[in-house]
Symmetry: C2
Subunit: 239 residues, 2 copies
DNA sequence: AACTAAGGAATGATCGATTATTTGCTACGC
DNA sequence: GCGTAGCAAATAATCGATCATTCCTTAGTT
């Protein structure tokens, strides 16, 4: 395998293109919570058949990024106030156990990857140029870092569960930041020092201090949930 | 809308019928691990179009009951020796935390449902008439009982994760039992008293003894994994 | 004998059109 | 005036056929 996935991303199959496009747009919050995802529209916009749009939507449903309403098509998942809490709770319930497993098993190579992931995260600009949104690069680096911490557990099933929860979390996060009024960028409602939190987490992990690492992780997740909850109710575009 | 979901189950949409049928057959082990799932065959067998078969397969992929190979169609997930361990480990990692949450939050109504689920489980015959297989009714009652124990946590995200893991677990279990030689039914390699285990678990849960309940659950999961591992390598139909 | 390359059969992906269901509106009766 | 039956537009589900890729056979070569 050489340059197989790195060549032209736009050269892939129609199905793949449309799937990736819609996925990105959902994650970016281009569709509001509960918005209908119409196969015809998506297909026409990409110049492709209905079947590929349906396929893309079906895949998204499997991933938790869309829901299906019986005989009423597809839609972006809706988001109510306490879904936040549920997602944060799920992460707090599952990730600490995984982190302990990861730290108990991870080898030198894993340590190196954690270090690299943290380095990348630290060096990636958090904010986009103009808007109050996280940059795509930072979002991806952020995901990589958190996943990397847990990858030492070497359990595909558990990492799958992480991926699912992460997607739900990102979706919710995006809507929360989208709900912010334009004049009040996210940084003002997030006085925490995310960089320091990640650094402390990395340090504890590499020092193999499991108790401290779990503490820091739970704290990190709790603070994230709280800052996002604080960002709610400012004037969400819809319900 | 009157009798909408309770009428003829065979009267549902073609898509639903085929989906449910294939799902059941996969769970029953009618296709070996890694077996190809060909849309054309499935569609023709049910007398429906290719699109319907593809849709069903896509849904199955989202559920973890099928995998997709790039430009090479769909297949039943393959199963290697240590996948067992991974699945058991995932359950042992996640379910105890959920059980504690559930027991901390569950109300009287939840207790009643746990009791009912256990009653149903206890009264359902475990084995099918002729073969060495679990009966469908028992499998479903078993799932309901275990899920019910955790439902007190009142967290959709976490219960979703349980559902996924359970499906993987059931798939693996079925293949393990299928691998048994015909003359040696499963009961002989499973000397444990599953009924007593479930009863003890129910008792600890209803007594709100979280530590004991978690202990029993972990023990239950561990024994399951071990008995299933013991059943491996007898002469699996394929790889 | 083994390895490689061409070609055909099988299967996967995509398409355009048709059928069935839902939705929103309108007209009618109470 | 309100509720409801019925019609029409929109959209979801399904179909049969076509295009593209992979797999398997076979012939040719070293």
């Amino acid at each position: 395998m050489e340059a197989e996935s790195a060549i032209e991303p736009t050269h892939r199959s129609p199905s793949e293109r449309l799937y990736a496009g819609v996925r990105t747009r959902i994650l970016h919050g281009d569709f509001g919570p509960g918005a209908a995802l119409k196969p015809r529209e998506l297909a026409d916009a990409e110049g492709v058949s209905l079947a590929v749009a349906r396929e893309a939507l079906l895949r998204l449903v499997g991933e938790g990024l869309a829901v299906r309403l019986h005989n009423r098509g597809f839609a972006v998942p809706s988001m109510d106030a306490d879904r936040w809490q549920k997602i944060a709770e799920a992460r707090i319930a599952t990730e600490p156990v995984m982190l302990r497993m990861s730290m108990a098993r991870g080898d030198i190579d894993w340590e190196a990857r954690v270090h690299a992931a943290h380095h990348r995260l630290r060096r990636t600009p958090v904010w986009t140029e103009g808007g109050p949104f996280y940059s795509d690069e930072w979002s991806e680096a952020h995901r990589q870092f958190h996943r990397c911490l847990l990858e030492g557990c070497a359990n595909d099933i558990l990492l799958d569960l992480f991926d699912r929860t992460w997607v739900a979390s990102e979706l919710a996060r995006r809507w929360s930041t989208s709900a912010m009024p334009r004049g009040v960028p996210l940084r003002s409602v997030q006085p925490r020092d995310g960089v320091a939190e990640h650094a402390a987490l990395e340090a504890a992990v590499l020092a193999r201090d499991a108790d401290r690492a779990v503490d820091l992780l739970v704290q990190h997740l709790t603070l994230t949930a709280e800052s996002l909850r604080a960002g709610h109710g400012h004037g969400a575009p819809n319900g």
